[in-house]
């Protein structure tokens, strides 16, 4: 109707509110963005979260320290071992349990493999966001499947592992598992090389990610970003190095950082982290004692931690994951708080998205690598 008047006039554009999600393939879960757009330009965005809120903190208050590990698997379903490690570390520090060395090596292998699986998953899904539907996804899933096969052999589960225990790990490695990990590392190196060929220098991918969603280092710190999101801004901040835990002080690895803090840097930082994780796992296989205890000695079957509080934190694939545990002396946490990395990373979405185009909003959201189960807990 308006078009009948011809094209030679200027028209005032009006801001439209667009709901993206909660069921939208680009939102990586149940997540909604309310975009206020002026034409193609995003002038405001409001993230709406909470669809996956299952009350994990409240539930943890009703579960004893062994049962609570299951909640951690379900918090970040792409970094299960990492979350289990944080939870176990919190209880071990409060209870004063010494984890045997072999158990620490086994844990480190598991969490680093898990980090690689998570990053491969991110890169595959991010390639899909950029328009490589299918190709990038299958490349990423191929590598993730290889890692998951080993996890399945180790724990009997494909997703909810529940393998770590307060004081160690649940059982010994199966026969020949370390040899399989050793072989896997070669394939993973090839997988990284594949992605470099597929995405890193791809014209379309560069156009979609470079200079998009830029956030400065100061702003990123102010928003509490952590993990690859913060390192992409050029801040070499990694808890494995800054607040060393487990066996990380004995390992050699680099901390990849970005330069511009845009989507492309977030992608390359994660890709280079995979290479570093491969390095770490190779060192672990070399330095790990071939036998020894895997559980702390004289652990009570029913844990009652002393009265006190602890904030344990680890470097998860998505950033700093923290467990704030308050004990009143019972066999269950009096209060358990999970500091989610994605929660803080997502809170900067508005800052990164305003002024970009709608299509880039998808790329920016993808680059935060959110797991909505961890955001909402």
């Amino acid at each position: 109707m308006v078009l009948e008047q011809g094209f030679d006039q200027e028209y005032e554009t009006v801001d439209l509110n667009i709901n993206m999600g909660p069921q939208h393939p680009s939102t990586h879960g149940v997540f909604r963005m309310v975009l206020a757009v002026d034409g193609e330009l995003v002038v405001d965005v409001e993230p709406v979260i909470g669809y996956m809120h299952r009350g994990g903190e409240k539930l943890s208050e009703t579960l004893d320290y062994r049962q609570g590990i299951g909640i951690q698997d379900r918090t970040d379903y792409l970094g299960q071992f990492n979350c289990e490690q944080t939870y176990c570390m919190a209880a071990e520090k409060l209870g004063g349990f010494d984890v045997p060395e072999r158990a620490e090596w086994i844990r480190t292998i598991c969490v680093e493999l898990n980090r690689m699986a998570s990053h491969f998953m991110f890169i595959g899904a991010y390639g899909t966001d950029a328009g490589f539907i299918g190709t990038a996804f299958i490349y990423g899933f191929r590598e993730r499947e290889r890692i998951q096969d080993l996890f399945e052999e180790l724990t009997g589960e494909r997703l909810m592992y529940s393998y770590f225990r307060v004081g160690g790990v649940a059982w010994e490695l199966p026969n020949g598992w370390t040899a399989k990990v050793s072989n896997l590392l070669k394939e993973l190196r090839q997988g990284v090389a594949d992605f470099k060929g597929l995405l890193s220098e791809n014209e379309v991918f560069l156009a979609r990610t470079r200079n998009v969603g830029v956030i400065s280092a100061e702003r990123a710190i102010d928003y509490g970003l952590s993990g690859p999101m913060l390192r992409a801004c050029g801040v070499p901040w990694d808890l494995r190095r800054e607040e060393p835990y487990s066996v990380y002080p004995r390992l050699e690895f680099e901390i990849p950082v970005g330069e511009y803090g845009d989507c492309y840097d977030r992608y390359t930082v994660r890709l280079r982290e995979i290479e570093q994780s491969i390095r770490i796992v190779a060192q672990c296989l070399e330095m790990m004692p071939s036998s020894g205890p895997i559980m702390a000695v004289n652990m009570p079957r029913m844990l009652r931690l002393p009265v006190g509080e602890v904030y344990a934190r680890t470097e998860n694939p998505r950033g700093e994951y923290g467990i704030y545990l308050v004990s009143k002396g019972g066999n269950k946490p009096y209060r358990l708080r999970m500091r989610s990395a994605c929660f803080a990373n997502l809170s900067a979405l508005r800052e990164m998205t305003i002024g970009e185009y709608i299509a880039d909003a998808v790329m920016i959201l993808g680059s935060t690598d959110i797991v909505l189960c961890e955001v909402d807990r």
Binding site: M1, D38, G224, V307, Y311, R339
Partner: protein, 422 residues
């Protein structure tokens, strides 16, 4: 780094575009808070006008057609009280509606208006439907409690049936339930003529979902509120007592807070902290990781601001804030802070008495605090005074429950809340 997008936009242009959008968003936010209409929309890329077509004629002020409420961009706001149109039942009905709307638009255009007059005209045509819907919503007045969707609510006081012992008993029960349902259907058919037929549907269909089109009626809401007051509220307060008793017993059994040895890094943090806050009374507790400082509630904002700004502390990384429900003592608010420059890591906490659950918001010190505080407010009922956006974050926006309080039972209440909650 040059911008690859299209090769036309230089980094400076891009920065200007982003800045313009951010300014606009900030202005719109400020306007929304002060209640003023936001500034008129600017053309997205002003440079285009200079490059291409002749300069546009100065835009005439938008014609004000009537006094209907309008959005900032001039679109007519939908009247929230106006009844919604039922979706067309048949393709013919749909075609007829479209034709009516088009006629109305043409009339409005001829009268000098714009096409935005369409919704009002269409609504005027739809009034018979609206009347019918209103009467249909009031139809189920048989004294039975109903949910918002119009289905019959289970009486919460009714005793639960034991599971059927034998297959025969089960069959008998099924038959009895079917007979009851058939009787209810018959009753629905006797609803006065005109209430349902105007909807273009059969009476039975209307009886199956009478309130669906309009949402819960006021009668329904009143019934629910009554049920809530009668059933759920006493249950909630009754649930508090044993929980408190259990928690108290547990606290008695506890032998007292354990002491932990602080690491050298933590001791350095303690020294820095005590130097900066020499004149304040701050208790030091130990934990296996960070030192824990207990600050008086009156000093908490001052202390936290100094944590960020004082060069010896420079805690620029806000890890999070959360609460711990200590029952009769009140609620403890716990901040986890970290410095990326001085490497200090501390836990700062303060106790809010149960009758004054207010703590100053620190979201103007760290942007990261915004969401963490919103989460704490909804989960514990703590008020962060001065928070710019104190809406619920994870919970439904209308919920006023505080699930992480110890008085909030995990199962009994929530199972009932699945039905409806205010």
């Amino acid at each position: 780094m040059t911008n690859e997008r299209g090769g036309t936009e230089t980094p400076e242009e891009r920065a200007a575009r982003v800045q313009a959008a951010k300014d606009r968003a900030a202005a719109a936010h400020a306007a929304r808070e002060s209640g003023q209409p936001p500034p008129a929309a600017q053309p997205a890329v002003p440079a285009q006008a200079a490059a291409g077509s002749p300069p546009p004629v100065e835009a005439a002020p938008a014609p004000v057609l009537d006094d209907r409420p309008r959005t900032a961009s001039g679109q007519v706001k939908r009247d929230p009280d106006a009844p919604k149109l039922a979706p067309p039942a048949t393709p013919e009905e749909r075609a007829a509606r479209i034709a009516t709307a088009k006629e109305a638009a043409a009339r409005a255009k001829a009268a000098g208006g714009t096409v935005t007059a369409r919704p009002a005209a269409a609504r005027a045509e739809a009034t018979p439907d609206a009347v019918a819907e209103e009467s249909a919503a009031a139809a189920p007045s048989d004294g039975i409690l109903r949910t918002a969707k119009g289905t019959i609510k289970r009486d919460p006081d009714a005793p639960k049936l034991a599971p059927p012992a034998t297959p025969e008993e089960r069959a008998a029960r099924v038959a009895a339930a079917k007979a009851t349902a058939a009787a209810a259907k018959e009753r629905a058919k006797s609803v006065p003529e005109g209430t349902a037929s105007a909807l273009g549907k059969g009476p039975a269909v209307a009886a199956a979902g009478p309130a669906r089109a309009t949402g819960p009626s006021t009668a329904d809401l009143a019934a629910f509120r009554q049920a809530y007051e009668a059933v759920i509220k006493p249950l909630k307060s009754a649930g508090e007592q044993p929980l408190r008793a259990v928690a108290a017993a547990r606290a008695e059994r506890a032998v007292g807070r354990a002491e932990f040895e602080l690491t050298p890094a933590a001791l350095a943090t303690v020294a820095a902290f005590q130097e900066v806050f020499a004149e304040l009374e701050i208790d030091l507790l130990t934990s296996p990781t960070d030192p824990v400082f207990v600050v008086d509630k009156r000093d908490i904002y001052q202390v936290l601001r100094a944590c960020k700004t004082h060069p010896k502390l420079a805690m620029n990384f806000f890890r999070g804030v959360t609460g711990v429900d200590l029952l009769d003592e009140g609620i403890e608010v716990v901040y986890h802070l970290k410095s990326l420059t001085t490497r200090h890591a501390v836990t700062v906490k303060t106790l809010l008495p149960p009758d004054d659950l207010v703590v100053p918001s620190v979201s103007n010190i760290w942007r990261a605090a915004n969401w963490h505080e919103r989460e704490m407010m909804e989960m514990f009922g703590v008020v962060c005074a001065g928070h710019p956006d104190p809406r619920n974050l994870l919970l439904d926006e209308d919920l006023t429950i505080h699930p992480l309080l110890k008085a909030h039972p995990l199962q009994e209440l929530e199972l009932r809340q699945g039905v409806n909650i205010f």
